[in-house]
Every structure is written in C-alpha cells, then in structure tokens.
C-alpha cells in the first residue's frame, strides 16, 4: 500500500517528463512540475490543452506513454486508481443516484475497509464540514446543484486522501453559485490542509482559488507561477492572452536598451517579457492589458503617462461595473485596442465615432517574440 509509507519529500506530487499519446494525438508533452504538500494548484488551459489528460494520469485513469508520476515520493505508474490515496471530484460529479448523500459519503470508507463503528461519525463530520449536516438522508436527486457539489467534495475527502483532484466540477454551475463554490473549495482546502489539484478553463477561478497556476496549451506547460505572477509576468504571448483581456500591438524592434525595447513605430516602446532579447529589425509584439490603458476626450485628461496615441471609438460595450471601449488607432496601423473604463462618473461618455486619447506606461507593455 503506497499510502502507508511516509516518504520524507516536501512534494505531494512530482510529475517527471510525462508524455501521453493516444490515437495519434500527443495530448501531453514533456510535462514536469513539483507540487508542495498542502498547496492548491490549478491547471488552467483551453479545451484540448491536455490539462484533463494530465489530471487523469495523476489519478491513475491513464498511464503515461513515458515519464513518471510520483506521489509522496513513490512512482505510481502501475498503481491502479483504487489503490491510490486520491480523492477526486468529477466533472459531472458522478454521485451514485441509488444512494443517499450519507451513503455516498460512506462509500469510500466501506470500500477502503474503515472500521464500521467509526463510519457514521466520520460521515457526519464531513457532511458538517461541507455544511450539509442535516441533509444526509436525502437522495441525490433531491439535492440542489450546489448541495450535490458539496456531497461530491465530502465523498472525495472523507477518507483523508493524500491528494484532492478537481476535474472542472464547477463548469456547469451558473456564475453566482460557481463563485460561491470557488470560495468553499478554498475554505475547505485551507481547513484540511489537503494538497489539491484543480483543472479549469476559467481564468478567474484559477486566480481566485489557487496558490499556484500551471497554464497549459497544446499539451505543453506554458508557465507555472503564483496567480499574481501569472497575471503580471506572463511568460509568453499565449499566457498573456489567455489570462485577462490583452491587446497585442505588432511591430518591429528599433533598438534594445537593457530591459527596454523600442519599436520602429514612433512613440511605442515596452519592456522585455520573459527575457526576450531581440536584435534590431526583428518582429515583436507588445502585450498591453485593457485595464492599463487610460482613456480621455483629450490628451490633457490622461494625466502622467509615457505613451499617448489618438484613436477613434468603434464600439462601446456596457458591462455593468465597467465600460469596454474598442478604439481604432490609426498611428498603430489601425490596431484595435480594448480599453476598460471603470470610473462610474465618466462611464459611457465617449460615443462611437468620437476621437479619444489613449495613454499608458512603457513598463506595462510586455514585448514577446512569438
């Protein structure tokens, strides 16, 4: 039994050069990362990025074509799922409809031969943990979507697994419930201090719940970093584009001065992203977040900024807490920039077709080569 051996490694999970190929598709390529015990990791990526395949390999539902999955210091390549100490919350929850909520939570204890006398107390404790203390006798179809989520969490945690895996269980919920459950996951994870790996395509969820984020695309790990670093220092254009609302300004490099990269377009410059060191004349793209751009009726309204361009408003979208402007900038070759205006006082003051001034700081433009 793997779970009985106490390995003195600080890592709950280590993934070593893992590759997964099936039906001619290279779903996961050379994935390598370590996850410290007690941390909450989110694997974030678009559909088809390999994130779920990676999670399923950690759970034991698929053997890597090559490479090792190490859990608590032990390579688990040939260990079947039911012999791993892993709790998993599935995308469609997979609660057993022929059992009550309490029976669902008791199921892993019965399967794992816990002392029968301790089972009822333990089940009640975990139902209390997920705030379903009084609903144990309900059948699954008698519970609401959010309550079913809670049963699934309790069932995955009740046997105190070394690792909790979440396979996009929140994807089907409406936004309000999803945000509530994200905070619940966070609370329960902190309360039990259980190492957790969450898979999602929801960038907001990744930022809200995680200690660390792995961004995946096309089977490759693009970046592993803390949420703030993932957002502020994306390692490449894909990460910059996938998280947040990002504008890309295409151009060629005029000169490089330390971290500072000047574009051949007059007035446009940025700082290097991820150590990108181009030579003059190389193609490059500057990534600029929509919230980093200030918008005003004239240049004097922008305040103290390094870079200023004029543009024409082509669309104005009211999103409640903010207005998103789409502005065409002629001096940037007609590049369309999306700009947030969060100020309720100035909301919607720029009509479609009106001329506006856009301003930002050079340090907010991250320059990438790809």
């Amino acid at each position: 039994m793997t779970e009985t051996i106490a390995a003195d490694t600080p890592f709950a999970v280590s993934v070593r050069d893992v590759n997964m190929m099936f039906d001619g598709v290279h779903a996961v390529r050379d994935a390598t990362f370590d996850l410290e015990k007690g941390r909450f990791l989110t694997i974030l990526g678009p559909s088809g990025s390999g994130k779920t395949t990676l999670l399923r390999m950690i759970a034991g539902f698929g053997r890597p074509t090559s490479g090792d999955v190490v859990i608590n210091g032990l390579a688990v390549g040939s260990v079947p799922p039911h012999k791993r100490s892993i709790g998993m919350v599935f995308q469609k929850l997979a609660l057993f409809p022929h059992m009550t909520a309490a029976e669902n939570v008791a199921f892993p204890l019965r399967m794992r031969r816990f002392d029968a006398r301790t089972i009822p107390d333990r089940v009640q404790r975990y139902l209390d943990l997920v705030k379903l203390g009084k609903l144990g006798d309900r059948r699954i179809h008698e519970l609401s979507g959010g309550q079913q989520q809670r049963v699934a969490i309790a069932r995955a945690l009740v046997f105190e697994p070394d690792l909790l895996l979440l396979d996009e269980p929140l994807a089907a919920l409406d936004r309000k419930l999803r945000e509530e459950m994200q905070l619940e996951f966070r609370r329960i994870q902190r309360e039990l201090d259980v190492t957790t790996i969450n898979v999602t395509h929801d960038q907001r969820e990744a930022l809200v719940v995680s200690d660390e984020i792995i961004v995946m695309d096309h089977g490759r790990i693009q970046q592993k970093a803390r949420p703030e670093a993932t957002y502020r220092q994306p390692k490449n254009a894909f990460v910059a584009n996938f998280i947040g609302v990002t504008n890309f300004i295409e151009g060629t490099v005029a000169s490089v001065d330390g971290d500072l990269i000047a574009f051949s377009r007059p007035g446009l410059a940025g700082r290097t992203g991820n150590g990108f060191r181009p030579t003059a004349g190389a193609p490059a793209r500057g990534a600029l977040r929509a919230e980093q751009i200030r918008i005003g009726g004239g240049r004097e309204a922008l305040g103290d900024v390094d870079t200023v361009f004029d543009g024409t408003v082509t669309d104005s979208i009211f999103e409640g807490e903010r207005v998103v402007y789409e502005v065409a900038v002629a001096d940037l070759g007609g590049t369309m920039l999306r700009v947030f205006d969060h100020d309720p006082v100035t909301h919607s003051q720029h009509d479609v077709g009106s001329t506006v001034a856009l301003g930002w700081n050079v340090k907010d433009v991250l320059v990438f080569g790809d």
């Binding site: 759970a59 034991g60 539902f61 079947p80 799922p81 039911h82 791993r84 892993i86 709790g87 998993m88 599935f90 995308q91 469609k92 997979a94 057993f96 409809p97 022929h98 199921f107 892993p108 399967m111 794992r112 179809h141 069932r155 995955a156 046997f159 895996l165």
Partner: protein, 313 residues
Amino acid sequence: MRPSRTAYPLSWRLMDALEATAVAVWPRSFAAAVPWLMLLPAVLLVGLLVLGLWDMADGSLRTLDTATFLPSDDYSLRNYDRAFTEKLFFTVASRSLIGSLIVTVITLILAFPYSYVMVRTRSAALRKVLLIALFLPFFIGQVVRAYGWLIILGSQGMVNEALGLVGVAPVRLLYNYPAVLFGLVQYMLPFAVLMLAPALTAIPEEMESAAGSLGANWVKTFLHVVLPMAKPGFIGAGLVVLTLSLTDFAMPAILGGGSQDFIANAIYDQFFRTSDQGMGATLALLLVAVGSMMVGVVFALFGAGTLAMGRAK
C-alpha cells in the same frame, strides 16, 4: 421571389406539399383529436384480444362431450378441476415455470457481459460485430433455428460426429430438458441484450471511474455501482425473457421432441389433437393468469424497470 435550391431543398418542399395535403384532408381544428386517433389502431387490436379472451372464457366452461365431440351446452368447472388435479398438466406447468425461470437467470447472466462490452468498447468495429451477431438470429426464424440445432446436436449431427472421431460413442443431446433450455437461452439472448444495453448506456462511465478513485476494485464497482444502477434494465430484460420463454412453443416442440412439452404445447394438443377446445381454452387462460401474476409480483417487488418508461422523476 423563388427561394434558391440550396437554401430550400427539395425535401423541404415535399414536406410542405405533404403538410398542405394534410391540412386539406384534416383541417387544423381537428388537431386535438390526432393523438387519440393514432392510439386507435392499438386500442382496437388489444380490444380484439380481450374479445377473444372473453370467447375463450366462455369455451373454458364447456366440457367436451365424448359422444358427439361437441362442447357441452351447459357450464361447469370440470376443465379447471382437471387442470389442477391431473398429473400431466401439473408436470407440464411446473416444467414450463421452472424452465422459464432457469432460462431467465442464465440468459441475464450471459447477456450482461455482452451488452457491457458492446456499450463500453472503444472499438467501433467490435461494437458493429457484436451488433450484427445480435441481429443475425432475428433474420432466421425460431423454427429454422431449432432445426439447425437438430442438425448440429442430432445423433448423427456434427457434435456427435466430432465425438466419434475421438472414439466417443454417440451421446443423446436432443429431446431432453437441457436441450430445450439451451435452445431457449440461445433464442432469448438477443432480446435480453437489446433490453439491457440502453440501461447500461445510461450509466455514465464517470460513475465507474469515481468508484475506482473511491477505493472500489472492479468486482466491488460492479456489485455496488453498475448492478444497482442497471437494475431497471435487468427487470425489463428479465420480464421479457420470462414471459417469452414461459409461453414458448417451437423450442419445446422441436428440441423436446414431444417429451418436453411446455404449456403452449399442451394447449396446442388440446385444440388440434384431442379437439378439446374447452380444455385448451382453460389452459390458455390459466397461462395468461400465471404470466400476469408473475409480472405483477416482479412489478410489486422491484418496480417496472425500463418498462415503466414515463418521464424521469
């Protein structure tokens, strides 16, 4: 403006023409009656059956006059008395009942892995092969299939010939109870698989993965998750197999060779050999009663399974 051919294909225009004809023949104001009208043929058919039963009930109360070979004019319960007391009828009835129960159990056991593989396999080719193998017997009638078994299992059949090659004396494989049950299982298997497959399809594969991650090996997963969740399919399949084999005629007749009669064979004999229509009607009615009771008991104990249909709760 005429819509272009691609935007408005021929099949749509055909549908338009059909709809227009339908409206001309059956004005829209009659629309509420349509569902009932469509039910009518089925109701009429069942109604005819009930009429037939009524006629048989009448016949079952008349005894055969051995002098004239005509049913008596007066009513009596003589036929029912005979059915419950004569040893022959008891033997036939218990043979049919026990046989159909055995056939049901064996068929369900064999049908489960077949449907499971058919539903779960990732290979589209294997699924096709399994489906074709399933439907092939339907194209061959039950009687032809029974004769096929005669050719294979007969005293000069293929099996005995093969045994002869290794020096084993011919074995009597036909005209006994196991032969009839064997033929029935073979006949019922496709029905059971077809009834079980939708129930298994309805179990998400994620359920089995979940059971695995929660600590259940495949045996426990089967016992605690797949089996309970497939229960409606087992009930539906079990009822179909039970009633079909309880009332079967061809297999006992051909593979039993007259020595292994089921109730249907006894009824046939009464009607067409001894010409005792009253006795035949009595046995037929008793068969209907016993079959209905068994179905009723299953419904009461386990619910109607997939046969309950209706909207999901």
